[in-house]
């Protein structure tokens, strides 16, 4: 029995290596079934988006005038040519969903990168220097938070002229306060720890202390926030698209698809249901994955 345990232990990577950390992270992460399901789904969507030209049966912008509002394949009138049916101008819903994943995912990724990058920087400044720097940054963030997020995004897009880039900037702006607050709180908590003082005494300057010493120790909550704000970004992009302020036609984007098919909700449910369903599923799965990440990265949640 004891031999069995010993031999099992020796097959694990040595402590201290990157592989060991990865292995312990993975065992914590995969302990949650939901996180695993989320991860698999996200990887699947990513692959589909990446290989869209090969996976999609049709050109997403091609309009088949002979097949308007064809129902999905399981209906009597459905055809194998259009698996999930067509919309009001005869475009294949499935192909548009597949191509739409490219837009939704890449826009959301950009949004997260922008808001996380800027948010971490501002949060570090606020938490590290305190004083008036902190007051200015947090007050501005409070103002941003005080607006309903969609309203603010709408306003920003209206100012910047509707389009992909401005939608991205607007949503990044709306997400910013969460990153700033989180970073600031984490930095304040870590700043007076003795290892930071020791680093300062050995001559580390402000930049080094902020980015090299403090930031790595504040990352765990930020990674979780990144996944959560990724899903919020998908929703917000879809909402902007739905209101006609985001991606402009004929670009296939999930929210815009919803908006265009809205008038046919009664007669052709498929044109509305599938974009809605895919948004719901993606957001849900990302959130599940985010929860798993938090459990795996937060040392306080760790079972020793």
């Amino acid at each position: 029995m004891s031999q069995l345990i010993l031999s099992k232990k020796s097959s694990q990577p040595a402590p201290g290596t990157f592989r060991y950390q990865l292995a312990s992270f993975w065992s914590d992460f995969s302990a949650s079934r939901g996180a695993l399901v989320g991860l698999i789904f996200i990887v699947f969507i990513l692959l589909v988006a990446l290989f869209a030209p090969w996976v999609a049966p049709h050109d997403p912008a091609m309009q088949d005038r002979s097949a308007l509002l064809v129902p999905p394949v399981w209906h009597a009138e459905g055809s194998w040519n259009y698996l999930l049916g067509t919309d009001a101008v005869g475009r294949d819903v499935l192909s548009r969903l597949i191509y739409g994943a490219r837009y939704s995912l890449s826009i959301s990724a950009m949004v997260v990168v922008i808001s996380m990058g800027v948010g971490i920087f501002l949060g570090l400044l606020a938490g590290y220097f305190r004083g008036w720097v902190e007051t200015v940054i947090t007050r501005v963030m409070d103002v941003v938070l005080a607006f309903p997020s969609l309203l603010l995004a709408l306003g920003l897009v209206a100012i910047l002229s509707p389009g992909l880039t401005s939608a991205m900037i607007a949503i990044a702006m709306v997400q910013l306060p969460y990153f700033v607050r989180l970073t600031r709180a984490a930095v304040i908590g870590e700043k007076n720890r003795e290892y930071v003082i020791a680093s300062r005494l050995s001559g580390a300057g402000h930049l080094r202390l902020m980015f090299n010493t403090l930031l790595p120790n504040c990352m765990a909550p930020l990674i979780v926030q990144a996944t959560l704000s990724f899903s919020t970004a998908i929703l917000d992009i879809a909402a902007l698209g739905f209101l006609g302020m985001g991606v402009q036609p004929p670009t296939p984007e999930w929210g815009a698809m919803l908006a265009n098919a809205r008038e046919f909700m009664g007669s052709a449910y498929w044109a509305v249901t599938f974009p809605g369903l895919i948004i719901l599923l993606t957001v849900l799965m990302i959130n599940l994955m985010g929860d798993g990440l938090r459990d795996a990265l937060d040392p306080k949640m760790k079972r020793s």
Binding site: P15, G16, T17, R193, E194, Y195, I197, A198, S199, R200, L201, S202, G203, A204, G205, R208, T213, P216, N217
Partner: protein
Amino acid sequence: MSRDAVLSAVNLTRHYQIKGSPFSKPATVKALNEATFELYPGQTLAVVGESGCGKSTLARVLTMIEPPTSGQLTISGHQVSLKEGQRPPAALRREVQIIFQNPYGSLNPRKTVATMLEEPLKLNRKEMSAAERRQAALEMIAKVGLRPEHADRYPHMFSGGQRQRIAIARALMLNPKILVLDEPVSALDLSIQAQVLNLLADLQEEFGLAYVFISHDLSVVRRIADDVIVMYFGQPVETGPAEEVFTTPRHPYTQALFSATPVADPNRRRERVHLKGEPPSPLAPPPGCPFAPRCHLATKECTRLDPPLEHVNERVAVACIHVDQAAARYAVAG
């Protein structure tokens, strides 16, 4: 003294301002009051006293984490003039390093031991190559009694004693002349304490280090200290060579402190000097001698003036107006 002091403090004082709110007046906390001492290479100066007496404030001022409110601090012949929030100048931070009490907070959890040890070199010895830094880190790891394979591990993989060794190694990377030890062993197991203390003694001999050893463990202090400062309520009440202070404590507070130390001798009977009450609140210091409210020798005079530190002989100084009486009583009781 013929030798040059590596560190000298004259009337070192550190006050903290407490901001007033609508319900309270702003106040000043005198965390450290008029500390004067000198430290020589290869010597250990112990600072003892109960919790909250200003020991750690002294450590923070000496390591230039905080500037003194007034008084002079001279390190290796350089007068320190530091402003609030300023980093210590490069030349001086090589001279003084600190070891913290809690080895669990003093090591960056996201860095390997080697990275941590190389950081001071990276910042202060720009001429060194990466390979040289690595070599220096490995040598230091060996010196503090760890093995080379420990270099690439993270702090959470070490025990408290090992972590403290890593902290010591990091402090020594820049070849400082002075090491401020802020209760370096009080968070460790008794058996580990001895090991770390022995390591510190070996390193002191090897590098000619001067230690400022802050502690409340008197049996440890007695073993390693050359000189002692006994602090009470932010000010030194008795200073002198360790041997003399320990054999004939003169200040009533020192006597009480020492008589509270357990002695491993069941046959020994000793009258204990009991202390009444609590240390006074730093926000409302008592008039006169701060120890007067708890002192068994206190007279009316004690509440009128705060006695300065006065030499009772060439090397020992005591801040008490009843020194003679206290010393006599202790001799009888002991």
